[in-house]
Symmetry: C2
Subunit: 274 residues, 2 copies
């Protein structure tokens, strides 16, 4: 009988084409999870199984050809872009398996690449849906402003060549906080659904050479956190007046907002559920 | 006129065949530094120079064929192995250039790959030699013992599947501290020179899931920190009695000591000079 499992997943998105499974591109976080789970179902969690092409031989589930794999669909709370990271992405998957939560977690961590880790597997109500049940999300954007090259953290920060004015950034952020139509901050020009979202808070924190922007809201449009980050940076650099944010929102046009900050500085930190 | 410059260099060693320039392998930290410095000398620090094959055209110094480059020799304090990292490796290089310390540093950081950074360039006495003038070095070995996969730090730690006994490790470390013949801890079986070294201190510190071993000494033999780390881990796991360290040193044989801990957990933290 199928059970519904909630997964908490951390990943370094550098090598991937984002979270979501693409028609022509399998190198996604969702694709990696689905492939390992399909092999787990077929092997019953064992590390050696009979070769379907030659039952006298045993092979690793990793060597099973795709065509033998059962269909598995993993649903993520946030469809992170190519190059974006996550510390606690949340997903759910319906699986017919006798394995325990801990056995599933151990199997995933053993067979997933080292840049994807599953920190929790928990059986949840059948009605739990990682995306539709989510009530809030926290994203963090990290800029690096130090004099040294961030050799060890280069994949997780966006380097700035000078320090922006934090007071200006905070003034601009205050005007963007709240319930607004964020169409100007939506990277998808063909977005048909509502572009109204509530951003509860935008914290702008300096810690040594790191400038961190923490966004919490009920949901975010495509590229929204990256466009907010780019626009706030432009305010911090004096390219825009903080008080212009009201007009940027009112324009309901992507061209009114600032640039899309690079993917590598963004990380999905947490997903909230009731 | 040639001046002698001291460089402080940080690098993520994952992609490199170690610090030292190899006859058949140019992908070393030393090799990267020498290549960028040679291009800097030839271009006078400019970003565009006449193409030596077609003086009507301009090219980037990065595109200069090797054969046009002047010889430059960078000497490092510690010849780190393939995969070993450094936060503050120290090197020196004699250069005939009118550029200032800060111009050299900026040029290096612009043209070096993003996993190598130069934090300081300083003109020093002609007699300064990064290796022979060094009076001490600090290396850190990091094991990771947490329940989660270290997705973001995977390149800089060695994952353990259980936590060793720190008291046993500290007892063993105390016997290895001091001036000893470390031949048992030398990875080079053909070592002709003295294998006597002084290890002033071995700190064993736990911080959350990280178990850090800080070694300070006047110098370290090839693989010595990694063999010390592997041997201390075996003591922590109960595979060796801490009090056996005295006999391991006395044996003066590589086979008496423990395994060589993987390169990725090791980092050269600091080099001391008088």
């Amino acid at each position: 009988m199928e059970r519904n499992f909630r997964l908490i997943v951390a990943y370094d998105g550098t090598r991937y084409f984002g979270w979501e499974h693409q028609k022509t591109e399998k190198n996604t976080i969702q694709g990696k999870l689905e492939s390992v789970l399909a092999r787990m179902l077929l092997s019953g969690g064992r590390d050696q199984i009979p070769d379907p092409l030659d039952p006298e031989k045993c092979i690793s589930p990793s060597d099973l050809p795709e065509k033998f794999l059962p269909e598995v669909t993993v649903t993520g709370a946030g469809r992170t872009d190519a190059g974006v990271h996550a510390r606690a992405q949340t997903a759910n998957v319906h699986l017919d398996t006798p394995l325990s939560e801990e056995e599933i977690r151990a199997y995933l961590n053993r067979y997933l690449p080292e840049d994807i880790g599953v920190s929790e597997v928990k059986q949840v109500s059948d009605r739990f849906h990682a995306r539709f049940s989510a009530t809030g999300k926290t994203y963090r954007y990290t800029f690096y402003t130090g004099p040294q090259k961030p050799v060890f953290e280069r994949r997780y920060v966006t380097v700035l060549d000078r320090t922006p004015d934090l007071t200006r950034m905070r003034e601009a952020a205050a005007l963007l906080t709240g319930t607004h139509d964020f169409k100007s901050f939506c990277g998808n020009p063909k977005m048909k659904k509502s572009t109204i979202r509530t951003v509860d808070s935008i914290e702008i924190l300096r810690n040594g050479p790191y400038l961190r922007l923490n966004f919490h809201g009920d949901g975010f449009l495509q590229h929204m956190v990256r466009i907010l980050s780019g626009t706030l940076l432009e305010a911090g650099y004096g390219k825009r007046a903080p008080e212009d944010m009201t007009a940027v929102l009112a324009a309901r046009s992507r061209s009114a907002a600032g640039f899309t900050a690079p993917a590598q500085g963004l990380c999905l930190m947490k997903v909230d559920y009731q």
